[in-house]
Symmetry: C2
Subunit: 221 residues, 2 copies
């Protein structure tokens, strides 16, 4: 399977030419970040909360306290949607109407369940930490039983998804092309600055390779 | 009024010490960006879509095509919530449990109505464009009647809101402080790169001051 199936739920209606259901595209958008906007209904109102996630194949992992209102509500509903967006540029056209942004976004729909199996639960937590910064988990102090037991881990199986990508310049009306108005794109990037070591770190602990690697691959060019 | 009233809807339950209801704080989070995640319920499922917004006082403006499923659904429901988040850093602790992020986020709840009055509608569209990049609207070709009539503008009056801000280093267990594990923060910033002029721009049109100003205030340091 290379594409997610289209349904009334995930079918993109506005801006069809920018839509894709390609699984690799959706996965690459997911893997370019680690914060997703998770939607849920509370007292018949839709609310969205940003949350860290990890992706492994067609599964998304979320975690939180066992008292987390959103996760508990999601588990009751057994379904959720998650939206991820990366802003890539301001598209400044000659008219207000054609102003836009360059971006990559994905929306996932899936069913949820709580992970109880200790091995799967730990794999999911490793996945969430390593989604934020690769190879971090193996460097850490192992979880205590108390931490493990107080953490709720939720698995979402992605059932369908769609992505939208815009990556081009301003698209103006033909009649506007000769107006004396500047048009173009301001590229936007999310970048990392140099890592700041913890104040209480022993002096002989240097910034490790996985942290420097993250900085090198994410710093401003 | 300096604070939003707390209700069951906006009261922050997890991480109370990071929560604020201060109107100035919420406004500054809103004004540091222009993309919000708007939640709505479709076929009894909560969905979130990122959208450009403009803020003027206690009002948020959204716009889209008159056929936009989300905006039409929101107008039917007469209520919505919007979440904005800025990621400021990866907080890498000595244990997986204490990994976190530095961020500024705000969630708004309000009632919605469609703007019909032409003057208010144009002010709202100006507000949305200038939220993206200040002083842009006045440089643009005026809207045509056709564009104006095909655009749906929605006003949300913010009724209540909450914000959460985390801005500190790793908070580890006392017993972990002497472990030979690097801890610290990788600061994250959203930055602008140098503006790219449109390919079809006449050669004598230079990058204008408001675009260069945006670049100067948003470029990587």
């Amino acid at each position: 399977m290379k594409e997610f199936q289209k349904s009334e739920l995930n079918k993109v209606i506005r801006g069809v030419n920018r839509a894709t259901y390609n699984i690799d595209t959706v996965s690459s958008i997911l893997d370019a970040g680690f914060i997703g906007f998770i939607s849920y209904t509370y007292q018949s109102k839709a609310i969205t909360i940003p949350m860290a996630y990890g992706r492994m194949g067609n599964k998304i992992y979320l975690h939180g306290s066992k008292k987390n209102r959103m996760l508990l509500t999601l588990l009751q509903n057994k379904a959720a949607s998650i939206t991820i967006m990366h802003l890539d540029g301001l598209v400044l056209a000659r008219s207000g109407f054609h102003h836009s942004v360059n971006y990559r976004s994905a929306t996932l729909f899936g069913t949820l369940s709580q992970l109880e199996d200790p091995i799967k639960k730990e794999e999911a937590l490793k996945c969430i930490v390593d989604q934020m910064i690769p190879k971090r988990w193996e460097k850490l102090r192992p979880m205590t039983e108390k931490e493990f037991n107080s953490t709720l881990v939720v698995e979402m199986v992605i059932e369908t998804a769609s992505a939208k990508v815009r990556d081009e310049g301003a698209i103006d009306e033909k009649n506007d092309m000769n107006l004396p108005i500047w048009a173009g794109v301001i590229p936007i990037k999310q970048v990392a600055e140099f890592p700041e070591s913890d104040t209480f770190l022993s002096e002989n602990i240097k910034i490790p390779k996985h942290v420097l690697n993250y900085y090198q691959t994410h710093k401003a060019q």
